[in-house]
Subunit: 231 residues, 2 copies
């Protein structure tokens, strides 16, 4: 990004606070949902594996929340605008069994990491370092991939159902993301890199958001193919 | 304990594995229940505070599970005998609101720590060190005490309801503990210290278990009084 634009620019700062807020609440609610979905696990070890993913999300939450506090921002206030969208996503995608829960963890982890990577490019160095560092602490998905592949090998009909579920998950995720972007102009401008362009926030560019979402969707498709699923 | 009795004594070893199994599953299920109960929180910060308690329980679980694996024991098999009792406890004590959830976290944390302290006295040095170390990582309850005191100050009628709930929680906990003790002779003998007596496991002594449970109940009563509640 343009080195001239940083946290001393009020528009950039507001957008960065929005971003940290949405990521923080996203991580906290991922923690709760994964911890609840772990109740669907067939064995105690599976339950513990999903719980470990949940705990990793909580660690991410703590770092993002602490960054907000360091910036002198009330974390609660920064997160609140995103509660309805994120809770809405989880309510509309409650898994009905263990494999759907695993798929949700896998898709969420993957799309989340891609989104962090996209957004890191347009951040000031300090916030960028935090976001990249938080993102690096994933990689719990090897367990998910192995378990889903085993389930498909055992009963090939599972593949069709999970492919459908994967499409539904990413569709709901994108529709909530579009909603957030439409409501938060500063955040959208930050995401498409307009802040870096000239130090001003020229407003909400739907086309640019669309292209970023297309990249996220393509990466999702490759991950589904890696599972042997059509996306 | 008698230095002559250790993990090379098959009866002691079986009892120690039972103990690590019940503690491990207790921690894992405490993690899940606290993470779920956090959904009842009135603010995101309160939700995060309960989530942090849940994450601490998960850390305990990991250490106990890893200890079982180090002993060459399948952790899943060691935990399975205790799933019905512990799940039964949680099902019969699902909190109906945020304050009940907090009370459950506080009572569970307190009674749990006391139980760890009781049981540590009769363990071999290595297992003892682990149990004491896991126990030392609590102390999240300051947040709970402050929140419950505030709620009572705001509406004194809350005190009666929470006192009743506290009695119910500890009653259910003791009744499940009695059930576990009755089913697992080796574990009971370990708990009452008979292993230390002569290297043999003379069987299940209900009177001794009763005295330990009385000590746990007295400590619980003092904690309720510290909250301004009758126990």
């Amino acid at each position: 990004m343009n080195a001239a634009v940083g946290l001393d620019d009020p528009a950039y700062r507001a957008a960065a606070v929005d971003l940290l807020g949405v990521l923080a609440y996203g991580e906290l609610s991922a923690f709760h949902r994964l911890a609840s979905d772990a109740a669907l696990a067939p064995t105690i070890s599976d339950q513990a594996a999903l719980a470990a993913m949940a705990v990793a999300e909580f660690r991410h939450f703590v770092r993002l929340r602490d960054r907000l506090a360091d910036l002198g921002v009330d974390p609660e206030g920064a997160m609140r605008p995103f509660v309805a969208s994120i809770d809405g996503f989880h309510e509309s995608t409650a898994p009905s069994d263990w494999l759907e829960g695993l798929m949700k963890a896998y898709v969420g982890d993957g799309v989340g990491a891609d989104f962090y990577r996209e957004v890191a490019r347009v951040l000031d160095p300090e916030t960028q370092a935090l976001v990249l560092d938080v993102m690096a602490d994933t990689g719990h998905s090897a367990f998910v991939v192995a378990t889903i592949r085993d389930a498909i090998a055992e009963d090939p009909r599972v593949a069709g159902r999970l492919a459908l579920w994967g499409r539904r998950l990413v569709g709901e995720m994108l529709s909530q993301a579009q909603r957030v972007a439409a409501e938060r102009d500063g955040l959208s401008a930050l995401l498409v890199g307009d802040v870096a362009g000239g130090g001003a926030l020229p407003g909400f560019d739907l086309a640019e958001i669309g292209r970023m979402l297309a990249r996220l969707t393509e990466a999702h498709t490759r991950r589904m193919q890696a599972l042997g699923l059509s996306a």
